[in-house]
């Protein structure tokens, strides 16, 4: 019997919604095992001392997140980061552009920002939003915002059987049904413009479609709905910087708008979920001035 736990850090609980949406499959996965801790789905106050498999959803934004994560890691044999917040820091990392002091000040007022937290009962907000991997060792990552239910089920199934789960090694374009013509429009198109040809590759039409730089496995659903991929599954090969790869390609394609808008604006286009892992984010952390 495998003892399991789930931990929610800073995120939107969408991964738990995905777990719940496994329905009968969830029961099947859980039935011979024990879900010892899952604050959202069952009454449980503490992570037990020994857990075989812990799923972590969300990124680390507060001191409390960090402590709970470290505790979870210490008690877990296998720790799996689930969802793009846990894997790459998620969408909230786009705030890493702004100093946390300033964020707190603008949100709650100067006095509170000074204290770094709203009061003694509340955890301190860390200077930035951090992916799980940068705090503790992660055994496996299931990316996606949200992750694909089938993928979650198959990965968990594999882990429970003691196997290494497999994710697609290809890019979203591999699963995309749109047709490519070979020429790219130099203009950057925004969503406010309807695609002139619904059969045609959105990147070629000028939309910033992250398909080329994003791991497949989602069946290119967004693009099938005529909306460009926004890269929620992160890069297919984790050693690459998803957004910079796309930035390069956009510069190459003479897409002038890339240099018209600030990086903060464009990061929401090509680094929407993986900004915290990007080299750009690391640059923000450089403070060699005293």
């Amino acid at each position: 019997m495998t003892v399991m736990a789930t931990l929610s850090l800073s995120g939107d609980a969408g991964c738990h919604v995905i777990l719940a949406s496994l329905h009968e499959k969830l029961l099947g996965l859980l039935e011979p095992h024990e879900l010892a801790f899952c604050q959202i789905l069952k009454d449980s106050r503490d992570i037990p001392d020994h857990v075989d498999l812990t799923l972590v959803e969300g990124s680390v934004r507060t001191e409390n997140d960090r402590e709970r994560l470290r505790e979870a890691r210490a008690r877990a044999k296998i720790l799996v980061a689930i969802g793009s917040c846990a894997c790459f820091g998620g969408i909230q990392s786009l705030c890493n552009f702004v100093d946390s002091q300033e964020l707190m000040k603008e949100t709650y007022g100067a006095a509170i920002a000074e204290a770094k937290s709203l009061g003694k009962n509340l955890p301190e907000v860390l200077p930035k939003n951090i992916p799980v991997r940068e705090i503790v060792e992660v055994d496996f990552q299931i990316p996606g915002c949200p992750p694909e239910p089938d993928e979650v089920a198959s990965c968990l199934g594999a882990i429970l059987r003691g196997e290494t789960p497999q994710l697609s090694q290809k890019n979203v374009c591999d699963e995309c049904k749109k047709k490519r013509g070979g020429d790219f429009e130099a203009k950057i198109r925004r969503l406010t413009e309807k695609p002139s040809d619904l059969e045609r590759c959105l990147l070629e039409l000028g939309y910033i479609c992250m398909g080329p730089a994003t791991r497949a496995g989602c069946h290119a659903k967004c693009v099938a709905a005529n909306v460009p991929c926004d890269g929620c599954r992160g890069p297919a090969d984790l050693k690459y910087d998803q957004g910079v790869a796309m930035l390069d390609a956009l510069i190459a394609a003479d897409r002038e708008t890339v240099s018209t808008y600030s990086v903060a604006t464009m990061s929401a286009m090509y680094h929407r979920y993986s900004f915290a892992t990007s080299v750009l984010a690391k640059l923000l952390e450089r403070k060699d001035r005293r």
């Binding site: 910079v244 510069i251 923000l284 403070k287 060699d288």
Partner: protein, 142 residues
């Protein structure tokens, strides 16, 4: 930090055919240039990925030079230098908005036979970086 004591670190991505050759020739001619300029060999300035530039800053560089062949036919890979120029232009903007500053990145064009230019450019750039000082975190947001 005392500005006078500031020793910048500058990465110079030099294309193998021209800029690297010019740097070699500078040495051969016993010309000196700031020791803060640290040369990284690339086959062509067109090989310099924005990732390389950003990573240099991440790794602690205070300035980055991309040096390629002369414009108008000087590039040994046809037009790699022009592609590099385009990227550098876009990257300067990116560096502005992440608080590094686009001034810390520059592209130079020279031929293998221009050791004097290599010295002139690198010296001038190193001065600029010394003036700018260490990398700060002033956000440049509109």
């Amino acid at each position: 930090m005392d500005k006078a004591a500031f020793e910048p670190k500058i990465v110079a991505y030099c294309c193998w055919w021209c800029a690297y050759g010019a740097a070699d020739l500078a040495g051969i001619s016993k010309l000196t240039y700031p020791a803060s300029v640290r040369i990284v060999r690339v086959p062509c300035s067109g090989r310099v990925d924005p990732l390389h530039v950003l990573s240099a800053f991440k790794a602690g560089a205070h300035g980055v030079i991309v040096a390629g062949c002369l414009k108008d036919g000087g590039c040994h890979y046809v037009d790699g230098n022009m592609k590099a120029e385009k990227r550098v232009k876009a990257l300067k903007k990116a560096l502005d908005s992440v608080g590094i500053g686009g001034d810390r990145l520059e592209m130079y064009f020279l031929s293998a036979g221009m050791p004097d230019k290599f010295v002139e450019y690198t010296t001038e750039f190193a001065r600029r970086i010394e003036r700018l000082g260490p990398v700060g975190l002033e956000m440049n947001r509109e």
